[in-house]
C-alpha cells in the first residue's frame, strides 16, 4: 500500500502514465526514478470526471456530479453533463472534487532553504521596489512546489518582501516547465509594508521614564508614513506628466506604480496592529487605492471600519499564537470566525513561508475547529483569495469558463483525516510525486532490503 491511499488498494486514479510509474514504483521497488516530479504536457483531450461530490464553492455542492474540461478550461458542471465524443471519462465515484487551493501570500519558488541566504530571492535592497516582480525569480524546480501541490495548493501569490514597497506579487499556477509557463498574472498586486508605530505585538512603550524608551520611535513612524505618501505623490505626478505628454525621463519604479494608482490592481498593505490598520485605511482612502490588508492580527478591533469601507483582509496567521498574553490561547484560531460574524471579508494565507505553504489547508481548518463554518473556511483559501488578488476570472471556484485547476479527494482538503488523491492544473493531470514521497520510496526500499537480510 502506497501513499496514494490508506483506505486500501490502488485507487482509481492510476491512468496517467506518470502516475502509474509512481504508484507501481511502490510495488516494484527496483524501478529507478529519473526525476522526482515530471511536468506533463498541456491538456490535449477533453476529460470528464464522473460520479463525485463537486464542491463548486460559488454554486453550492453537487452530489454525484460530473465536471467536464477541455484545453484547460471547465466546460460544464452538473449532474447531467453532455459528454462529447473523444472525452476521456474517469469514474471518481465516492470522491470529492474541490477547486485547487490558493495561497494569497506565499514565497513558493523564490525561497528554498531558510538559513541559506543565497537560496532566497524575497527581499530586494532598498525601501521602494514597486518594479520588481516575483515571477521572474520563481524556480520551477523548487522542491516546495511538489509538496505544496500535494497539499492541494495549486495557485500561489508569490510575493516579494522587505522595504516599504516590496514589489509585485505574481500569481503562479504550480505546473509548468518554467516561470513563464506557470505565471497567471505577472503583477497581481502591489505590496506595501506599513511601518510599525511600536514593536509589533509588544507591550507598548513606557508611560513614564527617563528619556525615550528604546521601542518608542514615533518620529520614525511618522517619517516613514510621510515617505510612503511622498512616493505615491511622485508616482502620481509622473503618471500625470506622462499622460499629459510631458517629456520626462523614464522611471521604472513610478511606471510600475501606475496600475495600482489607477485602481487596476490592489495595494496589499501588511499591517497587524490596530493602529497600523487604522492608519493604513486612512492613508489608502487619501490615496484612492484599492486596499487589501494583509496580516490583520488586530483586524477584529477595526472590524466596523473594514466592513464600512469593504476592505478585505488576508489573514497570515490563523494557526498561530495569540498576539497578547491576555488573549485566549485560541485568539488566532477564532479570528476568522469573529471576522465572519462581524461581516469582514477575508482570505486565509499560509503566512508566506515557502517551506510551509503546504500547511495552508490547516491554517483554514483550524478556523473550523474554532467556530468558522466549513464552507467559509473553504472560500477563504479559494474564491476569496482569488477575488482579492484579481484572478477570480480564472481560478478560485469550479465554474464553466474557469481553469480546470482542481483536487480529487476523499473529503475536505482542510482536514488531515482525508486524502488528496489527484490534482489537475489547467486540465493537466499532474504528477503527484514530490521530494518527500521520493525519499519515502527510496528509504522504504532500504528498510525492505534490511528486512530481507535480517530474515
Amino acid at each position: 500500500m502506497g501513499y496514494l491511499s490508506r483506505t486500501g488498494g490502488v485507487t482509481a486514479v492510476t491512468f496517467a502514465v506518470a502516475m502509474a510509474t509512481v504508484a507501481t514504483s511502490l510495488l516494484s521497488p527496483t524501478v529507478a526514478q529519473a526525476q522526482v516530479r515530471m511536468t506533463v504536457p498541456p491538456q490535449s483531450e477533453a476529460v470528464a470526471l464522473r460520479g463525485a461530490t463537486i464542491h463548486t464553492v460559488t454554486n453550492g455542492v453537487i452530489e454525484n456530479g460530473t465536471i467536464l474540461f477541455e484545453n484547460g478550461v471547465i466546460r460544464a458542471i452538473g449532474t447531467d453533463v453532455e459528454i462529447p465524443t473523444g472525452t476521456r471519462v474517469v469514474d471518481v465515484s465516492g470522491k470529492h472534487i474541490y477547486p485547487g487551493l490558493i495561497d494569497a501570500y506565499s514565497t513558493v519558488g523564490i525561497s528554498e532553504i531558510g538559513s541559506v541566504d543565497v537560496s532566497s530571492d524575497v527581499n530586494e535592497l532598498g525601501d521602494f521596489n514597486p518594479n520588481v516582480r516575483a515571477e521572474v525569480a520563481v524556480n520551477a524546480e523548487s522542491r516546495h512546489i511538489g509538496t505544496t501541490r500535494s497539499a492541494g495548493v495549486l495557485v500561489t501569490l508569490t510575493t516579494p518582501g522587505g522595504g516599504l514597497i516590496s514589489g509585485m506579487s505574481s500569481a503562479m499556477s504550480l505546473e509548468g516547465w518554467d516561470w513563464e509557463e506557470m505565471s497567471l498574472e505577472s503583477a497581481a498586486a502591489l505590496n506595501v509594508n506599513w511601518p510599525n508605530p511600536n514593536s509589533r505585538g509588544g507591550r507598548g512603550g513606557r508611560g513614564r521614564g527617563f528619556g525615550p524608551g528604546p521601542q518608542e520611535s514615533p518620529p520614525t513612524y511618522a517619517e516613514q508614513v510621510q515617505q510612503l505618501k511622498d512616493f505615491f505623490a511622485e508616482a502620481r505626478a509622473y503618471r500625470d506628466a506622462t499622460t499629459a505628454g510631458e517629456e520626462v525621463r523614464t522611471d521604472s519604479r513610478y511606471t510600475a506604480m501606475i496600475p495600482a494608482l489607477n485602481g487596476e490592481i490592489p495595494v496589499v498593505v501588511s499591517a497587524d496592529g490596530a493602529a497600523q490598520i487604522n492608519d493604513a485605511i486612512t492613508w489608502a482612502q487619501q490615496e484612492g487605492v484599492r486596499l487589501v490588508i494583509r496580516g490583520g492580527g488586530d483586524a477584529i478591533h477595526v472590524a466596523d471600519r473594514l466592513v464600512a469601507n469593504d476592505i478585505p483582509v488576508i489573514l497570515t496567521s490563523t494557526m498561530a499564537a495569540p498576539g497578547r498574553d491576555y488573549e485566549g490561547y485560541d485568539g488566532a484560531y477564532t479570528m476568522p470566525a469573529r471576522l465572519h460574524e462581524a461581516g469582514v471579508r477575508f482570505a486565509i494565507s499560509g503566512g508566506s513561508g515557502a517551506l510551509y505553504t503546504n500547511r495552508l489547508p490547516w491554517e483554514a481548518g483550524v478556523a473550523v475547529a474554532f467556530g468558522l463554518p466549513e464552507e467559509e473556511a473553504l472560500k477563504a483559501v479559494t474564491i476569496n483569495a482569488a477575488e482579492f488578488m484579481g484572478i477570480s476570472d480564472r481560478v478560485g471556484s469550479l465554474e464553466p469558463g474557469k481553469q480546470a485547476t482542481l483536487l480529487i479527494t476523499t473529503g475536505t482538503p482542510l482536514d488531515m483525516t482525508s486524502d488528496i488523491e489527484q490534482s489537475y492544473i489547467q486540465g493537466r493531470e499532474i504528477d503527484m510525486n514530490d521530494i518527500q514521497k521520493h525519499f519515502f520510496d527510496k528509504y522504504m526500499e532500504k528498510v525492505r532490503q534490511n528486512r530481507r537480510v535480517v530474515s
Binding site: I113, R203, R206, A320, A369
Partner: protein, 1036 residues
Amino acid sequence: MSIMTWALKHLQASFWQASRCQSILLGPASGDTQLVPPYFLTEAVVRAILSFLGFTLLLTCGVEAQQATRTEPVTGIRDNGTGFHALVGARVVTAPGQVLDGATIVIRNGLIQGVSRNMQPPAGARVWDLAGLTIYPGFIDAHADLGMDAVPEGGDVGPTHWNPQVRAWFSTTMNLQDDADRRAALRSQGFGTALVVPKQGIFRGTASVVNLGDTGVRDRVLRPDLAQAMGFQRSFQLGGAYPNSAMGTIALMKQTFMDADWYMRAWGAYEASGRAFLPPETSEALAALEDAVQGDQPIVFETGSEEEYLRAHKLAAEYGVDAWYRGSGQEYRILDVLRGRNDPLIIPLIFPDAPNVNDPESALNASLADLRDWYLAPTSPAQLAGAGVRFAITSDGLSSLNEFLPNLRIAVARGLSTADALAALTTTPALWLGLENTHGTIQEGKVANLVVSEGDLFTEEATVRDVWVHGQAYGVTRSPQIDPRGTWRIASDDEWGFEAALRLEGPLNRLRGSVDIAGPDGATINLASAEVVAETGRIEVRFDGEDLGYEGVALLAGSVRGEEFYGWTSLPNGANPSFRGSRTEAYEGAARGTVAMNVPEIDLPFIRPMMEFGRSSIPEQPAAVVVRNATVWSQGPLGQMENADLLVQEGKVVAVGPDLDAPRGAMEIDATDKHVTPGLIDPHIHAGVTDINESGFAIVPEVRMGDVVTHNNIWMYRQLAGGLTTAHIKHGSANPIGGENVFVKLRWGSLPEDLKLEGAPRTVKFALGENPKRRQGRYPDTRMGTQEIIRDHFLAARDYEREWQRWEANGEGIPPRRDLRMESILDILNQELLISSHGYRADEFLALVRLAEEFGFRVQTLQHGIEAYKIAPELAASGVAAVVWSDWGGFKMEAYDASVYNARILIEAGVVTSLHSDNNEISSRMNWEAGKLLRTGLTHEQALSTVTNQAAKAVAIDSRVGSLEADKDADFVIWSGNPLSQFTRAEQTWVDGRRYFSLGEDAAMREQIERERTQLIQAILSISGNGDMRDLRGSN
C-alpha cells in the same frame, strides 16, 4: 587571621570609647551562649548597667572619653570641635513606634549621651534648636552600591581564578575609595550606615559595613568584609566566555563552592605531607571563600526576580551556606514561600512604571501581568510585613537614588506601617549587620546617627534637613531661616508703585502665592515663582506684569524680618519702585503635602503565576473521577474503545472499559460523542526556562535546565489548552555535549520545583551538525571534530574515574577535585544520564550511535532527526528511539531532506518513534502534528502514539505517563471529536487527576482578566494620566 577576628579587631577600634568605659566598669566579659562576638555582649551589659545607674555616670564616662586616636599625623593646624551637641525641641522617633515629643538629644564625641523629654541642654553643648522638626535614627542600607568595584583596565591580575566572573577575593574594605558623591546621595535619603556590596561578577567579593560620613577611609569601616556577595548576572566588562546563561551561572556557583572546599583540603594535604608534592594551584578567590563555604561567613545573593530568590535559596540549602538575599521587589508573589523563613531579606523599592495606556491601541497592548505588577509591586513591603516576614529596605536597584524616599512613601501609602518601614531601615538591618548594640535606635550609648527632617519622612513630602553620622552633622537641605508665608500688605510711595496684598502659601521649599492688586483696577496675579533664600532671609517672587499694565515679567524681592517686609521691584518698564509691608495674616495651611494612596482600591486576588490565566490555587483533586461514554484511546493493550469509561482515583488511572463501577461520590463526566486520550507528551520544548543555551564551552553537561525552570510562562497554559500534559525541556543545541534537561508536568499555577516530573530519568542534550560547529573560534568546526571532542571527553571521564579510584585506594597525594562536568560524563557512560541528541543528518547520527557503542552504552534518543529515516534499520538494531517532526524542514541546509514520511519509515523499521515540537506554539497542538501523519499511511492509533505512548517510551517515562492504563498518572484529555482531526479541539485537560484546563473555566478566566485589565487601565488613567501613585493631598 579569620574574618571574625579581623572584624572584631576593627570594631573594637571603632568603638574605642565605649570599650574604655566597659573595661573601667566591668573588666572582661564572661561567656555567653549566643554566637555574637564577646565585644557586643560586654557592651550590651554595660549599657544596661549604665542606664540603670543613670545619666550622671554616663556623662562622666563621656567626658572622660576623647576622640579616637589616629595614626595619621596632623599637618597644619588641628581642627578640634567639641563634638558636644544638644539637639532640642524636636519630635524624636527613638525606635520604630516610639516617639518622644519635644525631646533633647545629647551627643558627645560621636555617641548619644542621652535622650529624653524636658531635659535642659548640658552646659557647654552646642545647642541646635530643632523645634518643629522630626528626628529618626540614621537609616542603614543593608545592600548599598557605592560603585567602588570598577574593573581595572586590562582586567584583574594575579592568581585569582580562571574565571574572571569569580572575584571572591575582592574586598570592599581593601578597596574603599573616596566616593563622596555616592555617600552624599545616600545621606540625602537618610542613610548614615551601609553594607557596601560589590557588584561585579558572579562571585563579587566581600561586602563591608561602613559609615557614610565624610571622614577618611580609615575612619569609616565598621565591619570589614562581613559577607561574601554573589549575583546571578555576570558582568560583561569582566569578560570570559563561560557562563553566558542562567543555568551556567548556577553550575559555576556549585562548582566554585566545591572547588573552595577542595582548595582547603588540597592545601591542607600538601602542608601535611611536608610539601612532598608539587603544590596545588593558587587561587585567591577560592581562598577567600573558605569561611563562606563552611557556613561561617554569610553570602548575600542579589536576586533579580522572585524566581532567582527561589534558586538562590535552593542553592544555599544544598551547599549549606549562610544566605542573605537582596530581593527583587517581586516578593509579593511568593509570600507563601517566604512566610516563616528567617534569612535576612533586603528588599529594594523597585516599582514599575505604569504601562502606556495613553491611546486605545496602546491600552490594547497592556498586559495584565504588567498592569498587576504596576499596581501590586508597591504593596510588596506591606504584604511582607502582613505575612510576618522580616525584611530590611535598601536603596539598591533604583535607577536614581532620588527615587528612594518618594518610593518609600508610596510603600507606606500602600499599607506599610511607618513603624515597619522604620524598622526595615534601622533596627532590622542593624541586627543582621551586627550593629544592634550600636546603631538602629536613638538611645544612650549608641552611635549618634540621626536623620533630621522637616515633616514626617514616611507620610509627607518631607525634606531631609540634616543627617548625623557618628556625631557629625551633614547638611542635606538648607533650612529656610524665615517663614514668609501668610498675607502681606505691601505698598510703595514711588511713582510707579502700587498697593497690593502678597499671599504666600504651601511648603517652604515650594512656595506658591499671588499678588492681589488693590484699587479699582485691582486684579489677582498668580505668582510665576516664589522662593526663599535661606541664609539671607530674602523672599524672591516673579509674576506677569500684564495686569499692572506692563508687557513682561515683574520681579519683586524683599528682606523679611519678623512681620516686616522691605523690598523693591523691577517692573517691565524699567522702573524700580521700593516697597514696605507688614504681615496682616498668618499662614494656616498644611505645611507640606501628605502622601496618600492615589489609586483606587482594586480587589486583585492572588494568582500564580502573576499574569494572565494565573490560578488562585492549583485545582483540587477529586477522590475519584469517571468519564463516561467516550471513545477512549487507551494507547495501551486495550486499544481504542467506543462507548467506554475511564476511572481515575487519587491522581492515578484505575481502569478503562465499558460501564465501570465508580466509587460513591465520584465526579461523573458525561463524554458522549467525545474522545478521551492520554495527556499529550512533547519530548522537546524550550519554553519554561529562563535561558536555553549555555554556549560558553563546547562541553557543558554540568549545567542543568532544572535549575532555571520558570513558572511565569504563559505557554504552559496554552499548551494545556491544546492537551499537552508532560514536556521535556531541553538545553539548546550550541554544544556537542550540552546541559542536563528536565521533565515537567504542566501543573500550571505551581512554583518551578513543583512542576518537575518526580522520579524522571536524567537526560542530557547532545548536538551534532551545524549548530555546535557554527560558534566562531570554538572547537569544533566540523562534524569530524564534533565526534572527536565528544570522544575525547568520554576518555577524559574515564581518566577522572581512575584518578579517584586510585586516590580512594591509597589516599596519597593531593586529593582529586570533584568535577561536575566529568561526573556528568561518567553518568552518561554509565547510562544514568541518557543521551538525547539533537541532529539532522544521517551521517552524524550514525557516528554518535557507533561512538556510544564503542564505549559500551546506548544513545536513548535522536531528536529532530530530519534524516533519521535514512538510517531507520540501524537505529532499530541499536535500540535508539527517534524523536522527529511531522512536516518541519527546509529551514536550513541540513534540514533540506525533510520528509513527512519520516515517522512512517521509522515505525515500519521498528524504531520507537515520537514527534516533538521544539517550539512553544507547535507544542500547543501536538494532536494536529500527529494528524499530519495520517496522510503518510499510518493508522490513527499509530499516529496518536507518536504524541502519547511512544513519545513516553522514547524518553523513558512510559512507566508514568503516555497511556491510560492502571496505575499510570491520571493525565488525560477530553476532545470534542477525533483528536487527529483539524476540526477538533481539546475541551478538558487533566494532570494528576486534577482538571487544569476546561473551556468553561477558561471562559470565566477571560472575563476576570478583562475585568481586571479594565479596572487597572482606568486606575492609571485616573492618576492624571501618568500613573504616579503619589498623591500630594493637602498640599493645596
